[in-house]
């Protein structure tokens, strides 16, 4: 688009910063409460994302992998993919809805096979590495001088012991083959539940860190990138404080009413 308009090419960056600022502030307005401005920018963002996705599916996948071979190279059999895909929509017509099962069955079968491969590649390597040595030792070599086991220091052995204890406790929590009346099993399952709670806490903490990082990025954009267009960081910071003050004032007034 910028090829047709030198003015647009010149001002595109500034325009995108102004637009980005309005969109960011519009979305931040949810911090006050649910409002129409927020709804507008939310829908705008969703619409643009979806349109952008569809455009990219066409330019990066469908056009080079399907359209060009079909029309330019004369690979007419590629049209079969479209027909096979359109079978899905026959589910809306009672008389021929059985045809849709062909596409659905094919996709389900292929996905199941692929999921099995994914499971094997993802989890199997994790099983042998869960068996960790617990006794400190020097490096062990076989007769040919090949390293069989790396040296294990005392702190590493303690680390492995903690790992193994947690692993056994958590696994015992998910042991449902017999009723957990046994004292040892009951206690270890309880400990396993505690360990999982710690993990969920750690995940929640990480989530908080991630969200803060995203907020820092947005505020960096507002104060540093946009701020430089309206007179500096200080001006934007003052503007932000003013907006926050206005939000608090409005919120308190609404609460009183």
């Amino acid at each position: 688009m910028t090829e047709f308009s030198p003015w647009l090419a010149e001002h595109l960056k500034v325009m995108s910063i102004w637009l980005g600022t309005f969109c960011t502030l519009g979305l931040f307005s949810i911090l006050y409460r649910e409002n129409k401005l927020y709804r507008f920018f939310e829908h705008l963002f969703l619409g643009i994302s979806m349109g952008y996705l569809m455009g990219n599916v066409w330019t990066d996948t469908l056009r080079p992998k399907w359209w060009i071979p079909l029309w330019d190279k004369g690979e007419w059999w590629q049209a079969g993919v479209l027909i096979f895909g359109l079978f899905y929509y026959l589910i809306f017509f009672k008389k021929v809805s059985w045809i849709a099962r062909l596409s659905i069955g094919f996709i389900l079968g292929a996905s199941s096979g692929l999921a099995f491969q994914g499971f094997v590649n993802d989890y199997w390597p994790q099983i042998p590495t869960s068996f960790k040595p617990l006794w400190p030792h020097q490096a062990i070599y076989d007769k040919t001088g090949l390293l069989v086991s790396k040296a294990l220091s005392v702190p590493d052995a303690i680390n492995n012991l903690i790992f193994m204890t947690i692993l056994v406790c958590v696994m015992s929590y998910f042991f449902f083959s017999i009723e957990q009346n046994n004292r040892v099993l009951k206690r270890s399952a309880q400990a396993g539940r505690w360990m999982m709670m710690f993990t969920f806490g750690a995940i929640f903490g990480s989530t908080m860190m991630a969200r803060i990082a995203l907020l820092i990025d947005r505020l960096d954009f507002l104060v540093n990138d946009f701020g430089s267009h309206i007179g500096g960081q200080g001006v934007m910071f003052t503007l932000l404080l003013f907006l926050c003050g206005a939000v608090i004032f409005l919120a308190q007034r609404t609460d009183k009413e």
């Binding site: 911090l31 006050y32 994302s49 952008y52 996705l53 990219n56 599916v57 330019t59 990066d60 996948t61 080079p64 992998k65 692929l114 491969q117 994914g118 499971f119 094997v120 590649n121 993802d122 390597p125 994790q126 590495t129 993990t199 750690a202 995940i203 990480s206 989530t207 908080m208 860190m209 991630a210 803060i212 990082a213 995203l214 907020l215 820092i216 990025d217 947005r218 505020l219 960096d220 104060v223 540093n224 960081q233 200080g234 910071f237 932000l240 404080l241 926050c244 003050g245 939000v247 608090i248 919120a251 308190q252």
Partner: protein, 282 residues
């Protein structure tokens, strides 16, 4: 009486006041050029060593799967990794399973290529956004040129010097995945596991607990954990980027949140004690 008043005030505090405090805590450090030197974590150290050990002209597949929504963490991670690759004159191609990443990465690399003497198509190439990661990777592993077919400029794989000698996944020296979603797992499931590829990942903070297992099992040989990882990596590179600049803001924001959590808990304890003493008197 005074304690009760303070508790009453804390109980009524508007959540928007807390948002304002957080905004102030994050923004004020922008006015100063202070940096916090952080200890380098084992994961980041491992990642740095693996990239550092790559021989010149190695071929790296750079999987960028992030969008504007995780830009706060993934942008700094991507830039730090690209700087390291470009300093070492390593060839790379970009592949995205998120449509926004295609444009964000293109802007980033074109902005850097002049400084490091890189040329599009010769030292690096962007193959843009691809749909359906699982099926794409199934085809990509055994036959890279046919699956990629052309880059985002419309140039055929056969005409790109960077792709010379690259036929299957066995020709890839290392796979880097910068991700804000589950694409790292899919790469492990359908490319790393099947071809025993050397793989590293730069993930968002939320994904760290899930990825630690993969690092422990050797499926990943290095990891950059969230913004913290980006700060550490920039420090290793001796480069002050967006992550280093955000280090003080992040620390102040975390301290504020910890203080607020403690305050909330103290408030709950005092309130509990006061209500039980009132009940005791009655």
């Amino acid at each position: 009486m005074q304690t009760r008043n303070v508790i009453r005030y804390l109980n009524r505090i508007d959540r928007r006041v807390l948002y304002t405090l957080l905004i102030i805590a994050i923004t004020i450090p922008f006015f100063f050029t202070i940096q916090i030197r952080v200890p380098i974590s084992r994961q980041t150290e491992q990642l740095y060593k693996v990239v550092e050990a790559l021989p010149q002209n190695s071929f790296v597949l750079f999987g960028a799967d992030w969008s504007a929504s995780t830009r706060g963490e993934n942008r700094a991670q991507s830039k730090a990794l690209l700087i390291h690759l470009m300093r070492k004159k390593i060839h790379f191609i970009i592949l995205c399973f998120d449509p926004q990443a295609k444009t964000l990465m293109q802007e980033m690399v074109t902005g850097m290529q002049k400084e490091y003497g890189y040329t599009d198509g010769v030292d690096w190439a962007n193959f843009g956004y691809r749909t359906d990661q699982v099926n794409f990777l199934k085809g990509f592993g055994p036959d890279i040129p046919t699956t990629l077919s052309m880059d985002i400029n419309g140039k055929r794989v056969q005409d790109l010097p960077v792709m010379r000698g690259i036929h299957t996944a066995h020709d890839i020296t290392m796979l880097i995945n910068v991700s804000g979603s589950t694409t790292t797992e899919t790469y492990i499931d359908y490319l790393q596991g099947s071809y025993n590829l050397k793989m590293v990942a730069a993930v968002t903070s939320v994904m760290i607990p899930e990825m630690i297992n993969r690092l422990d099992s050797g499926q990943l040989v290095g990891m950059m954990p969230g913004l913290q990882g980006a700060i550490e990596y920039e420090q290793k590179l001796g480069y002050i980027g967006k992550a280093s600049a955000a280090s003080v803001s992040a620390s102040v924001a975390h301290l504020l949140i910890i203080a607020l959590i403690l305050l909330g808990n103290i408030y709950t304890l005092i309130e509990k004690r006061m209500s039980s003493s009132v009940r005791g008197r009655n």
